[in-house]
C-alpha cells in the first residue's frame, strides 16, 4: 500500500475507522437538526423572501426602479453577477484542478465547495436574467429558429459567449457534483431505516451498487470530467472579463483582464469556501476532517491569487500612464482620487494588503483571523467589480454626460436577497446532503489518517 511521509501533517485527525466516517457524516442527516440550524435557516429564508419580493417588484415596475441612468447603465446588477460568478470558481477549481494535481486535502472540502459553486452560479445567473426586464423572453439568448426571419443570436458577441460559458459551467459543475454524490447517497440509503427517507435517498442514489467495474468507471469519469472542467473554470471568468475587455470604455479596454479576473475569482471563491467551512466544521463537529492544515492550504491559495490580483491592479495602473492614452490615464486617476475614491481604496486595502498578512504562519493557522479575513476578501472583491464597472462608466469620453450612480432600495434588496437565497440553499444542502465526500475520505483514511500514520511510523522504526 502507498504510504506517505511522516513529515506531512495528517488530514484526518484522531483514530477513525471507515464506519466512524460514515457515522460522523451521515449521523447529522439521521438525527434531528440542531436548533441553530432552524434559526439560521429561518433568517436566511426571510432574507431570501425579501429578495424575491424585490425581484417581483422589479418585474412589475421595470428596470427604472434600479439606480441606473443613461451614463451608468450597468451597476449593481452586473457587479453582483461578476461577484457571484467569481465566488462560484472555487468549487470546480478544488474538485477539478486539485484532482488533476492529486491533492488529497481537496477531499474534505470539495463536496461543500462544489455545492457552493452551484448555488453561487445560480445567484449569478439571476442578475443578467432579471436585467432583461422581460424574463419570459430569456430563451432569446439561445439560437432557436424563430418567426422573425433569419434572426439569430450574434456569435461574435462576448455577451453571447458568456451565455454559453455560464450555462456550460453550471451544468457541468452540477453533473460533476452529482456523480460524486451518487455513491454517498447509496451509503445513506443503506443505512437509514425510516421507510420514507430510505425511499428518497434510494431514488437519489440511482441504484448504485459499488461493484468493481462501477468504481473503475467512476474514477474514469471523475478524471475526464476534471480534465474538461479545468479549462472550463479558466474560460468562464475569462469570458466574463471579455464582456468588458472587448469594449472601448477606458478602464475596461484592457488585455490583462482574463487572467486578472480568473485569479480574482479564485481568490474570492476560496474566501467564501472558508467563510462557510469554518462555520460548518464547528456546528457539525467536523474538526477531525477539516483541519487547521486544510485551512492553511486554502489561505496559501488566497495569498497566491491575492498577490496575482495585486500585481494586476498595479500593472493596470502603470499601463494607463505608460500607454499615453489620456482617457485611460484619467479613468485610473478618477478611480483613485475621484468621487468614488473610497471604493477604490476599500478594494486596494481588502484585496492587496490584507492577504499579505497570511505570510505570517501563526495568522494563517488562526481560525478566527481566517474567518474575518474571508469576509474582508469578499467585501474587497465586491468593491473591485463595483470600481471596474461604475467608476469606468460614470465618467468617460463626454464630460457633459458625467454623473453619479446611487443605488436604490431595490438594488440593495435584490443583492441582499441573493445572499439570503444562497445561504438558504447552502443550509438545506448541509442538512440533507453528505457534506463531505465519504467515499473519497475513506480512500485516503489509511494513508493520511493520524493514527494510521503513527502506526506506520512506529512500524518503520522497528
Amino acid at each position: 500500500m502507498h504510504s506517505e511521509a511522516a513529515l506531512r501533517e495528517p488530514l484526518i485527525l484522531g483514530h477513525k475507522t471507515y464506519h466512524d466516517i460514515t457515522n460522523d457524516i451521515v449521523g447529522p442527516i439521521e438525527n434531528k437538526a440542531p436548533r441553530g440550524w432552524y434559526i439560521l435557516t429561518t433568517i436566511a429564508g426571510l432574507i431570501a423572501c425579501y429578495g424575491i419580493g424585490c425581484i417581483f417588484y422589479l418585474f412589475s415596475k421595470g428596470i427604472g426602479t434600479w439606480g441606473l441612468n443613461k451614463t451608468v447603465d450597468w451597476a449593481w446588477d452586473i457587479t453582483n453577477f461578476v461577484w457571484w460568478v467569481g465566488i462560484g470558481h472555487a468549487g470546480t477549481l478544488i474538485s477539478a484542478v486539485l484532482l488533476l494535481f492529486r491533492q488529497k486535502w481537496r477531499m474534505a472540502v470539495n463536496r461543500s465547495a462544489e455545492a457552493m459553486t452551484i448555488f453561487a452560479v445560480i445567484m449569478a445567473a439571476t442578475f443578467p436574467l432579471i436585467h432583461m426586464g422581460r424574463l419570459w423572453l430569456a430563451y432569446w439568448v439561445f439560437p432557436l429558429p424563430n418567426q422573425f426571419g433569419s434572426l439569430w443570436v450574434n456569435f461574435n458577441s462576448p455577451l453571447l459567449w458568456d451565455v454559453f460559458a455560464i450555462s456550460t459551467y453550471f451544468s457541468v459543475s452540477l453533473v460533476f457534483w452529482y456523480i460524486g454524490l451518487i455513491p454517498d447517497f447509496a451509503t445513506i440509503r443503506d443505512r437509514l431505516t425510516k421507510p420514507g427517507w430510505k425511499r428518497a435517498y434510494s431514488i437519489l442514489s440511482f441504484g448504485w451498487t459499488g461493484n468493481a467495474k462501477a468504481w473503475t468507471r467512476f474514477e474514469e469519469v471523475s478524471l475526464v470530467l476534471a480534465g474538461v472542467a479545468t479549462p472550463l473554470v479558466f474560460s468562464v471568468h475569462s469570458v466574463v472579463s471579455m464582456d468588458f475587455a472587448t469594449s472601448v470604455v477606458p478602464g475596461w479596454h484592457t488585455t490583462i483582464f482574463p487572467p486578472y479576473f480568473v485569479s480574482g475569482a479564485v481568490f474570492s471563491g476560496f474566501a467564501m469556501v472558508l467563510t462557510l467551512l469554518l462555520v460548518m466544521r464547528k456546528v457539525m463537529h467536523l474538526e477531525a476532517y477539516i483541519t487547521v492544515k486544510h485551512v492553511e492550504y486554502m489561505n496559501i491559495v488566497i495569498i497566491v491569487t491575492g498577490s496575482i490580483v495585486g500585481v494586476a491592479y498595479i500593472t493596470e495602473l502603470f499601463v494607463s500612464w505608460y500607454s499615453g492614452v489620456e482617457y485611460e490615464s484619467y479613468a485610473f486617476i478618477n478611480r483613485a482620487t475621484g468621487p468614488y475614491w473610497w471604493s477604490y481604496w476599500a478594494m486596494m486595502t481588502c484585496n492587496v494588503i490584507s492577504p499579505q498578512l497570511f505570510w505570517v504562519k501563526k495568522w494563517r493557522r488562526n481560525l478566527m483571523f481566517t474567518f474575518v479575513m474571508s469576509l474582508v476578501v469578499n467585501t474587497g472583491m465586491w468593491f473591485e467589480r463595483f470600481v471596474i464597472i461604475v467608476t469606468s462608466l460614470h465618467r468617460d469620453y463626454v464630460p457633459s454626460s458625467w454623473t453619479m450612480f446611487h443605488p436604490t432600495w431595490v438594488d440593495a434588496g435584490i443583492f441582499v436577497g441573493t445572499i439570503g437565497i444562497f445561504f438558504t440553499l447552502y443550509l438545506l444542502f448541509a442538512r440533507y446532503f453528505p457534506v463531505l465526500a465519504l467515499n473519497e475520505l475513506k480512500s485516503i483514511l489509511k494513508v493520511t489518517g493520524e493514527s494510521y500514520k503513527a502506526d506506520a511510523a512506529k512500524h518503520q522504526h522497528h
Partner: protein
C-alpha cells in the same frame, strides 16, 4: 447440484486484494467485488478490463466541436451574414477567432454530458433503480467479494469456502440462486 453464490466479507481493501489474488491463482473466478470506495489495483487481479468511457467522451467532444462549427457556418455565414463595423461575416475561416469561445464551451458541454449519460447508463444507475448491492454494509465499511459456483466448475462450493477461510476473512455468507 444447486448453484451457489458465496459472499466473502472483508474489512480492509488490501486484505481483500490479497485474498482475491490467492483465489485467482488457484483458478477460482472472482465474479465481482462490492466496496465503499474504489480499491486500486484490484481490476487486473479479478480480470476487469479498462473502461472505454474516455474514448466515448472524446467522441462526444468532437461531435460538439463539429456541431458548433456547423451552427456558426449556418447562423453567421450562410443564413444571415452580419456586418459589424464594416467587418462582414463572409467566410467561416476569417471569422473563426470570434467563434472559438463558444466552440470550446460547446465541446466541453457535449463531452461532459455525453460521458455522464453514458456512464449512468453503463452502470445501470438511473433514477428509481433499486439497490443491487448484496450486502448493505458494502457502502459503509465492508468489502464484499462475490464468487459463484456456476463460474467455477473445477472447484466445489466447499472447496472455495475452505480456501476463503484460509484468508483473513470477516464472514462468509452463502446463498442459493
Amino acid at each position: 447440484m444447486v448453484n451457489k453464490v458465496i459472499y466473502a466479507v472483508y474489512e480492509d481493501p488490501e486484505v481483500l486484494k490479497g485474498a482475491a489474488r490467492k483465489l485467482v491463482t488457484s483458478g477460482v473466478k472472482v465474479k465481482d467485488v462490492y466496496s465503499p470506495f474504489p480499491v486500486h489495483g484490484l481490476d487486473p487481479i479479478i480480470g476487469i478490463k479498462r473502461t472505454r468511457l474516455g474514448i466515448a467522451s472524446f467522441m462526444f467532444g468532437i461531435t460538439g466541436t463539429s456541431l458548433a462549427l456547423l451552427g456558426f457556418w449556418y447562423f453567421m455565414i450562410h443564413d444571415w451574414p452580419m456586418n459589424i463595423g464594416g467587418k462582414p461575416n463572409w467566410t467561416l475561416y476569417h471569422n473563426l477567432p470570434a467563434f472559438v469561445p463558444v466552440m470550446f464551451e460547446f465541446t466541453v458541454l457535449c463531452a461532459a454530458h455525453g460521458m455522464a449519460i453514458t456512464y449512468l447508463i453503463r452502470n445501470k444507475t438511473l433514477p428509481g433503480m433499486p439497490a443491487r448491492n448484496p450486502d448493505p454494509r458494502s457502502t459503509d465499511d465492508k468489502f464484499v467479494m462475490e464468487v459463484r459456483t456456476a463460474d467455477n466448475h473445477g472447484h466445489s462450493g466447499e472447496q472455495i469456502t475452505s480456501m476463503l477461510r484460509e484468508t483473513p476473512v470477516f464472514e462468509i455468507n452463502e446463498r442459493a440462486y
